[in-house]
């Protein structure tokens, strides 16, 4: 009970990714706690695919994910804003040439 749950060892956190159907990528859908990979897969199936939401599940321990720091957001992603020449719309093609 309340006394027990205080002393219980917490179960690791997992992130769950589902492929909605063949041809699409796995997408993050949420997380859950499980003792190991097998249990995490079972629980992900029970919780996140009750209505045919997917055909494949990935689970990964949250602490194994390396993530960029939001503080570095500008340093990492801002420079691309000025590189508009990386987009096709930067280039003009005469109408006579047609669709390219």
């Amino acid at each position: 009970m309340s006394e027990q749950s205080k002393t219980e060892e917490p179960m690791p956190l997992y992130e769950v990714f589902i492929r909605p159907k063949a041809g699409l990528s796995h997408k993050h859908v949420g997380s859950l706690h499980a003792i190991d990979d097998t249990m995490a897969l079972h629980m992900a199936r029970d919780v996140y695919t009750r209505r045919a939401e997917g055909v494949s599940i990935w689970v990964v321990r949250s602490n194994l994910i390396a993530a960029s720091d939001p503080v570095d957001k500008d340093m990492l992603f801002e420079p691309t804003a000025s590189k508009i020449y990386r987009h096709p719309t930067f280039y003009e093609v005469p109408e006579e040439v047609g669709h390219m």
Binding site: S2, K6, P10, M39, V47, Y48, R50, P70
Partner: protein, 331 residues
């Protein structure tokens, strides 16, 4: 409602925030930007959300009890399968919300512990008993209906993980409300005894459902902060009125009456108007004196205790397997 937490004052110690960061945060909220777990946020925002999201999660989980009461007595296999599915959804909702809550920097154990210790609240509605089968209809139609009213705006909440959990939940709630209304419709079109059951359920659930939206705006303690921070988007009274306007015609279609002699349609405002709500009842239920508060907590604590050996077995099994794998790898 499910998150009546917003009507409580923040009791945590006041934190002086860096004015520059605070201004940037306020600007992001004003621009309808989403806040994600690792972004900087004011302590009061974090605390308000932890309180609201955890109480919302507790409500989903405690909310399984009144319906669980009827699983073995559902009138047909179809109704039983539907009811089980709905209850399973509510368990899932609890999980989505606990997960969202954990991204705010509290552990699952801490929030569950707060519930078991009686320190955290859950929605007042789940402290009412389910006395006849029609209550399964009334709960789906009215309680889940009220939940939807409240949860749709929360899909646009500024906190990303909460908003995403709400989107998933809202998709599932619609089934809950419709299956409930279908139960009511079947009973209302059945024998006089069945119709009387439906009427009895409506009589008992109507007022408590109106209370789910929390105290009237005039006395609600929620701060303007939660509106500004896009945690709350409509006032209690606004949401309640939306619910009343949507629900009354549905009840009349069933051929049932509402337990409110003063209920009338105002042609000028085009709104349904109810008689006064008995807020003393709401206060009593929130304070722990509802018909089922003690039973709900007792069952929740017992469930936690009963599951301890299962969790322990899973831990031991996982350790044994890990040890065996390590041994095999060494060979």
């Amino acid at each position: 409602m499910y998150a009546q937490a917003l009507d409580q004052k923040d009791k945590g110690p006041a934190v002086i925030e860096d004015p520059e960061r605070l201004a940037r945060f306020e600007a992001r909220c004003a621009a309808d930007e989403k806040i994600e777990p690792k972004d900087w946020m004011p302590e009061a925002y974090r605390r308000t959300l932890i309180r609201q999201v955890s109480q919302h999660a507790h409500s989903e989980v405690i909310g399984m009890q009144p319906e669980g009461n009827w699983v073995t007595r559902a009138p047909s296999l179809k109704r039983k399968a539907v009811l089980l599915s709905k209850i399973q959804d509510e368990a899932g909702h609890g999980l989505y919300l606990y997960s969202a809550c954990e991204t705010l920097g509290v552990s699952r154990e801490e929030v569950v512990e707060a519930l078991l210790a009686g320190k955290a609240k859950y929605s007042s509605i789940f402290n009412y008993p389910t006395l006849n089968w029609a209550d399964m209809g009334a709960i789906g139609w009215l309680v889940d209906g009220a939940a939807i009213m409240n949860q749709i705006p929360l899909c646009r909440c500024s906190y990303g993980p909460y908003a995403r959990a709400m989107i998933r939940i809202c998709k599932e709630e619609s089934f809950h409300q419709r299956q409930g209304y279908e139960i009511m419709l079947t009973l209302a079109r059945g024998t006089p005894a069945q119709k009387a059951m439906a009427q009895d359920a409506l009589n008992r659930w109507w007022w408590p459902c109106l209370m789910m939206f929390g105290p009237p705006d005039a006395v609600s303690e929620h701060s303007s902060e939660s509106m500004r921070w896009k945690i709350k988007r409509f006032s209690n009274d606004d949401l309640r009125q939306k619910f009343i306007d949507a629900t009354v015609p549905q009840g009349l279609f069933l051929g049932l009456t509402f337990p409110d002699p003063e209920l009338k349609f105002n042609e000028a405002t085009e709104h349904w108007e109810t008689g006064p709500i008995d807020w003393s009842e709401f206060k009593r239920v929130l304070a722990g004196e509802g018909p089922c508060n003690r039973q709900r907590m007792r069952v929740r604590r017992q469930t936690e205790a009963d599951g301890a050996w299962v969790r322990e077995a899973a831990r031991v099994h996982a350790k044994k397997r890990a040890a065996r794998q390590a041994l095999q790898a060494a060979e």
